[in-house]
Symmetry: C2
Subunit: 130 residues, 2 copies
C-alpha cells in the first residue's frame, strides 16, 4: 500500500496516526488473521503504543468499511481477516492458527434451506489435528 492516508480517506476514515500504523501493518500485501491481542502484540514489537480500546475501535471501523472480514471460529476470541474475498480455512486449534484456502472448493449434496430462508454463504472449516 503506497498511500495509506489516501486509502483511509477513500474509505471515509480519518488517517489518524494510529489508524495509519495499523493499516500499514494489516494491508502490507500479506494476508493476515489477527485478534485484538495478536495485533496488540505486533504493535508493541514495533514500539507503537496503541491502546487496546483503539485497537478494538480500529478493527471494528475497518470491518464496517469492508476492509476486514470477521471470523467466528473460536468462542474465546474474534479473528479479523485481511482477505475479504470469499474463501475457506484450515484451522489448527493447537496452534490457534488459520490458513487460507483460496482454491475453488465445491460442496455437493447440499439440501434445500428451510422455508423462507435463503443461503447467504457457505463456509468450510477444515480442522487440523496437529
Amino acid at each position: 500500500m503506497k498511500d495509506i492516508k489516501h486509502f483511509l480517506r477513500q474509505n471515509s476514515l480519518r488517517p489518524t496516526k494510529q489508524r495509519v500504523i495499523i493499516a500499514n501493518y494489516l494491508f502490507d500485501g500479506i494476508n493476515k488473521h489477527v485478534t485484538a491481542e495478536t495485533l496488540s502484540n505486533e504493535l508493541l514489537k514495533m514500539k507503537a503504543g496503541i491502546s487496546l480500546a483503539t485497537i478494538y475501535n480500529t478493527l471494528h471501523d475497518f470491518y464496517e468499511k469492508g476492509l476486514l472480514k470477521k471470523l467466528m471460529i473460536n468462542s474465546e476470541r474474534i479473528y479479523f481477516d485481511t482477505n475479504t474475498e470469499h474463501h475457506h480455512h484450515f484451522y489448527s486449534k493447537k496452534d490457534q492458527k488459520l490458513i487460507d484456502i483460496n482454491v475453488d472448493m465445491k460442496v455437493s449434496g447440499l439440501p434445500k434451506p428451510p422455508k423462507n430462508k435463503k443461503i447467504n454463504k457457505i463456509e468450510v472449516l477444515v480442522h487440523l489435528d496437529n
Copy 2:
C-alpha cells in the same frame, strides 16, 4: 431414553437428581442445540431450579463422556449438540438457531493440508440470510 440412571452409570456419571433431569431433557430422542442459557431457561420452565454452575458442569461432563458435541460457531456463546454424529449445519444468525444437515455432503477441490498436519474433520456451515 427409558433408564436414564442406567445410561448415566454406563457413562461413568453418577445419576444425581440434576443430571437425571438434564439428561432426560437433552436425550429425549429429539436432537437439540443448546447453550447454557437456553438450557437454563428450559429447566426453569419445568420448574427445575438447577444452578448455572451445575448446568455448565453438566454440559462439560456430558461433553467429556462424548454425549455431546461442542460447536464453536458464534464468538459470544458455546453451543452443545446432542447429535454426536459427524454432520453439518444451517445457521441463522438472526434467529441464533442451528439446523442439522444430516445428508451426505461432499467437499471437492480441497488442497493438501500444510506439512506435518493431518485433517481431523471438515465442517460446513451454511449461513442463512433471514
